[in-house]
Point group: C2
Chain length 132, copies 2
Amino acid sequence: MFIEINFESEKPIYTQLVEQIIAGIAKGKLQPGERLPSVRNMAEDIGINMHTVNKAYQALRDREFILIHRQRGVVINPNGVPRADVAYVNYVMDELHPLIAESITRQISKEQFMKLVKEVYKSYSIERHDST
Amino acid sequence: MFIEINFESEKPIYTQLVEQIIAGIAKGKLQPGERLPSVRNMAEDIGINMHTVNKAYQALRDREFILIHRQRGVVINPNGVPRADVAYVNYVMDELHPLIAESITRQISKEQFMKLVKEVYKSYSIERHDST
């Protein structure tokens, strides 16, 4: 498993785990239908509490990134992650607002900000080996 | 004061207050050197705890948005907010990463994402009455 937890980070371990699994899907490292380790195994692999893994898996399930089957275990949503809806777009806007407000006060232009966005998008497309 | 707290929001009141003051600066509603209400007055004005206002002011001071003078009170940084440095750009990238990763899984293209960025930038420049 490619999960790497930074125990020195201010970001909660639970959040790091959620974000890394989503990044794994975005990068195509985790494919629809692919199995994730059980709560117990994931906790042992990365040396964290089972409760933390469980909380992360619940959050990923609530956001439809994974399915949790009693028998088949934990799998990446075989139907793919649901496409963005209006609620998701509003969520993105809500997240962008404070980030852009602060960037404006620190004199980052729209063009500079978009360059950063492009850079981040690129970091995902390179690892996916596609040309977009 | 233009602060409006949403008491139903999941976002902590403290964070809302910090973000709204930064947005006020970004929109030019709060000018360098301008005075903010004292902790006590701000707390009374918006009907929240003094401790919450104090915590927000401390955070804004730590990030150099405001100065807190024992005598002159709380003022928007008269020298302007410091320009973005490498640490700030890294912070923006760190914030963009999970947002863009999730957006990719939900099939929001780079172009669509940049459109949202432009829209948010525009909402600040319209209120500042400039043409950028």
